[in-house]
């Protein structure tokens, strides 16, 4: 019976259980509170109904009661807030070393690119037990990447990256929905998340047509666009040396310090004059409209791969030689 009418979707990620726990707590709390109110209303309505020649007794109110039923709920609310905030914080903080998969949304499909170079449309294959970070952007309007079985959802915006992450726990095929209304075929912008055992996943990786790894693609685009002319691998270039830049704080010309994350790299390609690195001139041409979202993703992946940080490669910890970068671009 309850197989036909489930109360929650499959629970297939490490985070799903946490969300459900809070949900069940809230369902119990809400049921208790509504029942309490319903029973009180019903009880008073019956006990004090007029047919019993009930005479009303005038009662002014009670400050003590008012304070009680303001403060106690507020206390409970704060507990819910804290609990919800902790879950949210975890949902929005991808662990170090997660595999990074790029997602490009457009009306009305999901284009997905694995770091190894596999490309998929409306399907995402992932192995069980690995942290996956999705780096997402949209070509047109706002979409939202929603996987009910993982209890995660994140709007996918044009013009910048948003991210979400998960670690799948149960092999299976799960829904992928677009959850932000995006036009005619909004309800058709759905797909599948295929969670596989690691061995199967390796087989799947080996089986598909690959286009070369994302970072390698990025490198060839980097060459084609002539970027190395200025962004040289030494300190003599007209643009900063990009080695080891990703993920580091960078001093800008106006004194601000920003972290060179995906959105910074993206902005620096599309609108280079916005945040110029200290010590360099704003001479880089604007690439807005000249590179596609996919090429941009590849470029970001390439620049990331120039940092020895283990963020690009899937979960393999690397021994990073300390203190070897971040000096060059400050000159």
């Amino acid at each position: 019976m309850f197989n036909d009418l489930p109360l929650w979707p499959a629970r297939a990620s490490t985070g799903a259980g946490n969300v459900d726990a809070l949900y069940v707590f809230l369902v119990l709390l809400a049921s208790f509170m509504s029942l309490a109110i319903f029973i009180m209303v019903a009880l008073f309505a019956i006990r004090y109904r007029r047919q019993r020649n009930q005479q009303a007794e005038q009662i002014e109110g009670s400050t003590a009661l008012e304070i009680t039923w303001s403060v106690i709920p507020l206390g409970i609310f704060m507990v819910i807030f804290a609990w919800g905030a902790v879950i949210y914080f975890q949902e929005r903080t991808p662990p170090q070393g997660a595999t990074e998969i790029y997602v490009v949304a457009k009306q009305w499909m999901w284009k997905i690119e694995h770091p190894e170079g596999q490309r998929e449309i409306n399907e995402l294959h992932v192995p069980v037990g690995r942290d996956i970070k999705l780096i997402m952007t949209s070509q047109d309007v706002i979409h939202s990447f929603y996987i009910p079985a993982f209890r995660i959802k994140q709007d996918v915006l044009p013009g910048r990256y948003t991210t979400e992450w998960f670690r799948a726990t149960k092999p299976g095929v799960y829904h992928l929905f677009c959850a932000e209304y995006c036009g005619t075929q909004h309800s058709g912008m759905i797909g599948q998340i295929v969670v596989m055992e690691p061995a199967q996943y390796q087989a799947w990786l080996a089986g598909g047509t690959t286009f070369g790894s994302l970072a390698a693609n990025g490198q060839s685009i980097f060459q084609q666009l002539g970027c190395p002319t200025c962004h040289r691998m030494d300190t003599q270039g007209r643009g900063p040396n990009l080695t080891g830049v990703f993920g580091k704080p960078i001093q800008l010309e106006d004194g601000r310090i920003v972290v060179a994350d995906e959105n910074y790299v993206r902005e620096s390609i599309l609108s280079p004059s916005a945040k110029v690195v200290s010590g360099f001139k704003p001479i880089m041409p604007v690439f807005q409209g000249l590179v596609s979202e996919e090429q941009l993703n590849a470029l970001v992946a390439y620049i990331k791969s120039l940092s020895p940080e283990p963020s690009g490669a899937a979960g393999t910890p690397s021994l990073r030689p300390p203190g070897t970068q971040t000096q060059e671009q400050k000159e």
């Binding site: 807030f81 879950i87 949902e91 309007v141 959850a179």
Partner: protein, 545 residues
């Protein structure tokens, strides 16, 4: 209307003082304007309701087989726009508020009668624009107008819809302005702030929101229209604009707008419950101040609509904690209404049944709001049917229940006739059952992950959708019934005397229907609000048809 007046022709009142179209279209009498509003919002309610039924019918099957995808998108867009801007926001303030605010405080009219008429005309102009927009193709952006879809991608009548809502917004602003000035300046001698009916407090709070929130929506829509026309780039990411800025500005109004819809209903319930419990309201001050608190805190929480939209983590935390703040005054109200019934003398007339319904459904709507304010859960359920169910519990379960309760409660005052009590109770029951059957399954659907605004959906969601559609047909019957018997009662209803419920409040101290200037002479108030110990109980309303 004319016949009802003919029977009570011996006495002049606002309905029979003048006749003819002119006397209505050029009236500055707040009571007549209220009736103009009543007719127009009822029309739009059924327009919006018609769209709702089509939506539910489409969702009967998982495949999109009744209407085209584009048509479906237009249906939910127009349903939202019509219901929010042309029914819910004007509903209680413009009809019951217009009729009652001056009467309850002992004034002859609102402070600016001509502006009051102007705001009805603005509403009508906006309504005609909206109808024109609908019949010439409609818009498909969702009522939320999210950019850049609305500005750069939708190829439907977005500009016309936007301008229509812009004009409707000014109608709403002027109504709010009129109420605030009236409540401040027009109170009868002795009508101090602590003697004001809670209906007035609720409308005061509502008006504050209308005054300070609506302009932000208006300017945002202007920017959307300009962006569409001239490509300004303010909300366009390809030109460096930020689509989230639109969402911030939009929700700055549209979240408090929910309180524009629900606060007046709370005011209605605060009148009905004491009357049918024969008791002074429990905790008058707490209920009055909680209305103001809702109006103020309501402005601090808007970005809880945007937890997954790409706002910063820290901002999300701030808005989440503030959202819980606004839940407290709502809880206070529910507790106080319930406590009012304690040791009362309770009768089950139709308005009271609606008040019961309101308390129940609002409680559930409010409590599910706690789910949505909890960040971790919101990520999963936002933009799903959970949200749809939640806000329909507030707006339909809450606001519309309150509206219908108020209409029954004050119908004798408005028309001078009683509605048929048995039918009234039956309709209340049908609405309650139909509503729950329609919207409760949607909570489960939402947690299961069915996104909102879906024209077709995976087959596993069908059972709950069928339940919901079944409920909606029952709900429709429940809504048509009152309209039928209200019309019927204008000719055949029992004649109502001045105060059929034995209710407190100045509006019950004048004739039904009231004379044009409400009172033969301006009353002087020497008693506290809800002095039910001093008012004799009426004879129990019989169930005769």
């Amino acid at each position: 209307m004319a016949t009802a007046a003919a029977i009570t022709a011996e006495r002049e009142h606002y309905l029979n003082k003048e006749y003819g179209i002119r006397s209505w279209l050029l009236t500055t009498d707040h009571k007549r304007i209220a009736l103009l509003y009543l007719m127009s919002i009822t029309f739009f309610f059924f327009v919006g309701g018609f769209f709702a039924l089509l939506i539910r019918l489409e969702l009967l099957t998982p495949a999109g087989d009744l209407v085209q995808a584009d048509t479906y998108n237009k249906l939910f867009t127009m349903h939202g726009m019509v219901m929010v801007f042309f029914f819910l926001i004007p509903s209680i303030p413009a009809v019951l508020g217009n009729f009652l605010v001056p009467m309850m405080i002992g004034a002859k009219d609102l402070a600016f009668p001509r502006i009051n008429l102007l705001s009805w005309y603005l509403y009508i102009i906006a309504g005609i624009m909206m109808l024109h927009c609908i019949v010439t193709g409609g818009a498909d952006t969702g009522w939320t107008f999210y950019t850049p879809f609305s500005t750069a991608f939708a190829n439907t009548k977005v500009i016309e819809a936007g301008l229509s809502i812009f004009v409707a917004g000014f109608s709403s602003i002027l109504t709010g302005l009129n109420f605030v000035v009236t409540i401040h300046r027009m109170r009868a001698p002795g009508m101090t702030w602590s003697r004001l009916p809670l209906f007035i407090w609720a409308h005061y709070a509502t008006s504050i929101i209308q005054l300070l929130g609506t302009p932000v929506l208006a300017i945002t829509l202007v920017l959307v229209v300009f962006e569409r026309l001239f490509g300004l780039g303010i909300f366009d990411p390809t030109r460096g604009g930020d689509p989230l800025l639109f969402q911030h500005l939009f929700w700055f109004y549209s979240h408090p707008a929910v309180y524009i819809m629900i606060l007046p209903s709370m005011g209605v319930v605060a009148e009905i419950v004491p009357c049918f419990s024969r008791k002074r309201i429990f905790g008058y001050k707490a209920v009055a101040l909680s209305s103001i608190a809702i109006a103020v805190f309501g402005f601090l929480v808007w970005a809880h609509h945007m937890f997954v939209a790409g706002i910063s983590l820290y901002s999300a935390m701030i808005f989440s904690i503030l959202s819980y703040l606004v839940a407290v005054p709502s809880a206070i109200k529910v507790f106080n209404w319930t406590a009012t019934m304690y040791k009362g003398s309770i009768s089950f007339s139709t308005p009271m049944l609606y008040a019961f319904g309101f308390i129940g459904l609002f409680t559930m709507g409010g409590l599910t709001g706690l789910f949505l304010a909890a960040l971790g859960i919101d990520v999963h359920v936002t933009d799903t049917y959970f949200v749809v169910a939640h806000f329909h519990y507030i707006m339909v379960g809450g606001a519309v229940m309150g509206y219908l309760g108020g209409m029954h409660f004050w119908w004798p005052k408005i028309s001078g006739r009683m509605y048929p009590e048995a039918w009234g109770r039956l309709a209340a029951l049908i609405v309650f059952l139909g509503f729950n059957l329609t919207f409760f399954p949607q909570f489960i659907l939402g947690y299961l992950g069915m996104p909102r605004r879906y024209w077709q959906y995976p087959a596993e969601f069908q059972v709950l959708n069928v339940m919901s559609t079944a409920g909606s047909t029952i709900l429709a019957v429940g809504y048509v019934l009152p309209m039928v018997y209200f019309l019927w009662s204008m000719r055949y209803g029992k004649i109502a005397d001045e105060n059929p419920w034995g209710a407190a409040g100045l509006e019950w101290k004048t004739a039904s229907p009231p004379p044009t200037f409400n009172f033969e002479e301006i009353p002087e108030v020497t008693w506290e609000a809800y002095n039910y110990d001093e008012i004799p109980e009426p004879v129990e309303v019989s169930l005769e048809r």
